[in-house]
Amino acid sequence: MSNTLFDKVWDAHVVRKIEGGPDVFFIDRHLIHEVTSPVAFLGLKTRGIQVMEPKRTFATADHNTPTINQHLPVEDPLSANQLRALEENSKEHGILHWGLGHENNGIVHVVGPENGITLPGATIVCGDSHTSTHGAFGAIAFGIGTSEVEMVLSTQCIMQPKPKKMRINIVGKLNKAVTPKDVALYIISQLSTSGATGYFVEYAGDVFEEMSMEGRMTVCNLSIEMGARGGMIAPDEKTFDYIKGRKFTPKGADWDTAMEYWKTLKTDADATFDKEYTFNASDIEPMITYGTNPGMGMGISNQIPQSDTVKDGKATYEKSLSYMGYEQGESMIGKTIDFVFVGSCTNGRIEDFRSFASIVKGRKKADNVTAWLVPGSHKVEAQIKEEGILDILTDAGFALREPGCSACLAMNDDKVPAGKYAVSTSNRNFEGRQGPGSRTLLASPLVAAAAAVTGKVTDPRELMA
């Protein structure tokens, strides 16, 4: 029988099928952080149960951590309390914990792949919707709620109905200055934020085959923003090269056995999907969002659509534009901005900083811009230094912060003030996402760099040789 990549991995993890109900679904690797896990541990305590497979859970502190002075005690008592809870719960249950300052610490979806926790054919969950990131390796990975975190801790399983299957093909070659982020924002703008709800997506075609692992992670990361539970890409030589030799990757004979299996992880030629889309790479421009959900994005040289041409209700659309302070039919080019945020599990990896640096090199940060450059992990931070990128950034008037989720969700002090505009490489432009009243323009690191040095929305192609 012919199967999709998704079927192969899903079916291998079904412990039991419930008639008229969900599957009992086995989880290979579970990532936890300080915000969505404390209540789950409390639940275990109330029920008097232990963690069943502590070696399959990995803890890192990221959501609620400061991005400066991490060596000092955390000032906010509530944040400090959550961090302490993560540490103590991990210790009590024998779970590996990478706290603030640990060399392996960083954003959960950055450190997973870096340490070989993320593997092809694995099932990975975390109490964070961008867990879809790990699908870049041919894993089934998705975000779960706290009740489900408790299920995984206690039985290493969750109850999940199998999602429907969608394939998104992008064929041809990408244009200049078009990055994986632009590809993802383009797809979301075409499908809308609910276009893939109920589906699990496989990305296929030339563009994804040629894409780096970092780029694939960016694309899979954003799957959730079109409503999909997750997205995945078939593993290939690039995948195997990336994971080989990492901390938790199988070694020796185990590696060889795993490789044999991993090589079977692709969609069979005659397998079918519930839905399929094909787009041309050449139609994609550098993207920017102008509204309050990630589906409200467009090519940077276009105009903000008129309300009678959009899929959402007119009132909802107009409310969104009025929150942003923008008008229908306007161009985004030249709009003044106040903040630039480079980071998050979407675009906080080494490739993103290389890309940002390629434009700011030899230029200066605009005076009206406050820039927060936040590496996704200590490993990324170290690499930024090793590759000399830090020098380029410093020369251009930028400083590097310490790793964490930071202004992606603004739980810590990195909050964009009310009414201010931020060009952000993160994943959500919801009202108040980056601080109460903040206004977010989602874009790639190249677009962020162009904004950072000009102080306004600028087409990065104008600044590239």
Partner: protein, 198 residues
Amino acid sequence: MAYDKFNILKTSAYPLSIENVDTDQIIPARFLKATERKGFGDNLFRDWRYNADDSPKVDFPLNDPKYSGKILVGGRNFGSGSSREHAAWAVYDFGFRCVISSFFADIFRGNCLNIGVLPVQVSEEFLQEIFGAIEANPDTEIKVDLQNQTVTLLSSGNSESFEINSYKKENMLNGFDDIDYLQNIKGEIQEFVKTRPF
């Protein structure tokens, strides 16, 4: 955590006719710092409900004394975005036991079912009819019958059936949760673990 049994709910409702309500609006991130599941209802829709100086925004439906009830009626694509279960907790803690919309985001829907809030998906037409009826009379009652999987607008008598898988339905009718189920088949899971290569 086990929760109250759900059978028939017959109450008035709060209308929120905005589309794409994301979980960052339902509960903003800065209120996620608790280590216990308490008090989230106070911050439900915080930034839509209160001004920056913490005074209530009078025109927001949750602040309008003419509305009441245990049902929240929301616009299309309700609960998108972040997986934070805190959003479902806040909805529950405020006093809601049911959310009606014409479309739900996956994770939010699952989170609701896991904590005893029933997500009821109706057609867009019926949703608009419900909004219209509440607007005409805020005391309009809605009856949600889980056993029969029907939702009825009592003012007009119009009714629709809704979907829920039979496993979840049993759980909600009995106030069971998934962990009870999983604990009972732990032996089977332990056998399965042995077959996993990594």
